[in-house]
Symmetry: C2
Subunit: 369 residues, 2 copies
């Protein structure tokens, strides 16, 4: 990948990528010259194409079928050639408007849905958004709500803003005031602890056993916390299926067909969103071209991912999943922009300290690894 290409070779590679992204058809020398009014003959272009093919940046479906980028071709393009197309100012303002309009309204869930929706419609791909989660997950608050005399609703809120609710069957009837008392007691005891620490605190002494604290209730608290901790990245939101249906890659025997299965399997999605960028900086963009065998079904797809949030403390991942043949130059700024907004929102919402990468800032783009 260290090969030095001539300026002309770079330009031609760029043109091939652009044209292929637009048409999804292998592109030949003659078409290139005509299409882009090149100041040279098709034979010259052919020679250059041959070189690029030799270098493994282009490939041909068969001996005389035009050329299109290889995975490495895309990587080179994204890494060295591409000129990012920033979102036009009015677009940005429109998006920001939408976010700030609903900001305090719908809570985290609202942000996630809005992000997924905007990302999908702007990118023409499938959007993936993971709800924010904290590295240092801790219980923030417990609420106990009487549903009937033997049924209560337990709500556990974590410092990541996630709320787990579960129904609890009570061994003996309890009124709301009784529950509230327990609620207060538990809040005092368990606040700012994680499930492990809570369990420890419970084990250390039986004092709590004898108190008003029902073990049936504490068990549920521990379980709820564990749940949140286990599914780390919280809920995953997707949108934009409609965009991708119809793209040739996804059609019938299309190679990317398998990718659609993924949308069903949130666990797989989750592993995509959580794993690769574990140690990635906020605001940095990660581009995964060709799935890298990590997920077999993604062989002909690309991912553009970004982390958002307060560095290391709380955050999540957003991104888009589309055909390898996607408009990186437009999509990368889009993803980055939305990630920036989410960072701001998260910082604001969970703020003691205000951090978060500011929108405009440049940040590195990491390609496959």
């Amino acid at each position: 990948m260290k090969e030095k290409l001539t300026e002309r070779q770079k330009m031609i590679l760029s043109l091939v990528v652009h044209d292929y992204i637009r048409t999804a058809t292998p592109v030949g020398s003659k078409k290139l010259v005509e299409q882009f009014r090149l100041d040279m003959s098709s034979a010259t272009v052919r020679a250059e194409l041959a070189v690029l093919t030799e270098l493994g940046l282009l490939q041909q479906p068969h001996t005389s079928g035009g050329r299109y980028p290889t995975e490495n071709g895309y990587r080179y393009f994204v890494g060295s050639l591409m000129k990012l197309q920033e979102l036009p100012e009015d677009r940005r303002r429109m998006i920001e408007h939408q976010f700030y309009q609903m900001q305090s309204d719908q809570g985290v869930e609202g942000w996630m849905k809005l992000s997924a929706s905007i990302l999908a419609s702007l990118s023409g791909a499938i959007s993936l958004v993971s709800a924010p989660y904290s590295r240092f997950l801790a219980l923030r608050h417990i609420a106990l709500i009487s549903l009937s005399d033997r049924q209560a609703l337990l709500i556990v809120v974590t410092n990541s803003g996630q709320a787990q609710q579960r129904f609890v069957a009570l061994d003996e009837p309890m009124t709301q005031p009784q529950l509230t008392a327990i609620e207060n007691e538990m809040n005092a005891l368990f606040a700012e602890l994680n499930s492990f620490q809570i369990r420890e605190k419970l084990a250390v002494s039986d004092a709590f056993r004898r108190s008003a604290l029902k073990s049936e209730l504490t068990d549920h608290v521990v379980a709820a916390m564990s749940d949140v901790e286990a599914t780390r990245s919280g809920e995953i939101y997707t949108d934009g299926l409609r965009n991708v249906i119809g793209e040739p890659e996804f059609t019938e025997t299309g190679e990317a067909r398998g990718a659609l299965k993924l949308l069903d399997e949130k666990t797989a999605l989750r592993s995509i969103l959580t794993r690769p960028n574990a140690d990635q900086k906020i605001g940095g963009i990660q581009v995964l071209i060709g799935g890298e065998g990590s997920i077999a079904d993604l062989h002909h797809c690309s991912l553009v991912l970004a982390r958002y949030g307060k560095s290391n403390a709380i955050g999540g991942t957003i991104g888009i999943l589309g055909p390898m043949r996607m408009r990186y130059a437009r999509n990368i700024p889009t993803v980055r922009f939305i990630a920036g907004i989410l960072s701001d929102l998260v910082s604001e919402a969970f703020a003691d300290m205000k951090t978060g990468t500011k929108n405009g800032e440049e940040s590195p783009i990491i390609i496959n690894e």
Copy 2:
């Protein structure tokens, strides 16, 4: 649709439906005779097929291309011919086990997801599950949780078990004890009211204005309630996309392609799940064959829907969406069974009075209106 068919005609129609469901290929007279070892010649079958075609129950793609059911053919089949195949006892037990295992754990959300998952895998179609909602929605409990000195999380729980959470920016710093005080006050005032009643109560007197109740908070309570009321049927869960990808109807130019778009647009799904069966009895199954123009994209699909819950008080809709060519005889009992379980669970969870259709019971099947 009142036409009296001979027993033989009924049988032949049945066979055609079955075979077509299995093979997705138009079926001819000869194949029928061989396949099912019929005690007559192909010519006889041909004559009967001609009659059925005449009656509009079968159709042929072209003059000599075999026959397959029309929408009316399916409707007649489902309405009069089909023998329901109840789920085998061990299956039932397995499913029930899964539900009761998680029952009190994950709350409503868990049930919904499990229902969607089971329904999808058992039916081989797309499952649609709407969270329960109450006809007489009322606020059950408010929780106010301090996130930082100027940020709080407001959780509004309704009597349908839905929890709306939203972030609230506080005009002036407040501590958790202060918030708890307000929480108690609001709970006392607003419990068992709907958004309209709350608004009324607020308007009637300014007493509240002067009290510790911040209008910024009460506004949010009203807004949260309105939100829940507006989106009535609550969240919609779907699963089983993987099943339907690959079915010929959904492939490439497939006629049912548009149906996939629906999965993206929850609003459309919602209208499907809420509208048609508004006045349907709990436990009754509604089969919609061919979309009925209600949703244009569903022209070549069928829906099997059932309401669950406590009659009129609280409940939701579940169902499956698949190709018209679906295994009704198996799917209908499946949908009914899951609806039964959900009815039980909902009755239990929101019980004062215990109702709900018991699983085994027979209940009417309504076909297209």
